[in-house]
Amino acid sequence: MTGAIWNLLLALAWVVLSGDFTGLNLTVGLVFGYITLVLIEPQVEALQGYPARIPRILGFLGFFIKELLMANLKVGFDILTPPWHMKPGVIAMPLDARTELEITMVANLISLTPGTLSLDVSDDRKVLYIHAMFLDDEEELRRNLKEMEYRALELFR
């Protein structure tokens, strides 16, 4: 968290000093600030782990956007062609996420990928009930969901 604030402050300083108030220049400032933080990480205790987190977040974003587009096209194809190919159903997924924040994030991510919709969490917070649209290959679906949960949890821990 400290790292993110410092990165933003450095970017703002860059924008103010160069006197060019555009989004592009702010991005340039963010990149330079990040490089600076990477360079001084060994010296400063509070920055530990921040530089490694950014590539992970970017990788996760890429993975997520890919999933979003692919699955949206799949659902779209099924909507547009007359016979139904879908096999909807409600499945229970055991959760590795423990705290409320982690469960919220995982449930939101699962809701955002088309083809899956998180319905409810059991009272003891151990199982997430998911409505899935394509249950042709349940094992495959469960593996995909687990991978998504694993990648999301990686960002927090």
Binding site: V75, I79, I91, A92, A107, N108, D123, D124, H131, L135
Partner: protein
């Protein structure tokens, strides 16, 4: 070049919204309809807001467009979750082609208790406590 990318974003956003509307009209039951609407419509709004950000290209407008995108990404799944859960527990029918439902047997409509199905004998046993009324 920017004009072209903008046009592609706008057109695909509108197409995704049309897809969501077609889905809400054609799909057979509440939960499958929610699949079509929330994600396709959210993706459509995101694409159009990206086009808006590209069109104006000033810091304040880009920040506002990004704020809308983040807002949509945070609220769309929450709204889908609350409506889906309310609809399911209120008792909307599932489509006849639904292959399995692992939630129904674990739900108690009287007490609104939702079990995980992972309770074992050890978890369910209850130890007497100091605070219990005698």
């Amino acid at each position: 070049m920017i004009e072209f990318i903008k046009g592609v974003f706008i057109l695909s956003g509108a197409l995704f919204m049309l897809l969501a509307a077609l889905g809400i009209l054609r799909l057979p039951d509440l939960l499958t309809r929610m699949h079509a609407t929330t994600k396709a419509a959210a993706l459509g709004v995101i694409l159009i807001m990206l086009a808006v950000a590209l069109h104006f290209g000033e810091v304040d407008v880009v920040a506002r467009a990004l704020a809308i995108i983040v807002f949509i990404l945070m609220t769309a799944p929450v709204a889908a979750h609350v409506i889906g859960r309310a609809g399911y527990f209120v008792g909307s029918k599932l489509w006849s082609g639904t292959v399995k439902d692992e939630l129904r047997p674990n739900y108690d409509p009287l007490t609104h208790e939702l079990k995980s199905g992972m309770e074992t004998e050890a978890n369910a046993r209850r130890e007497p406590k100091e605070s219990d009324p005698s």
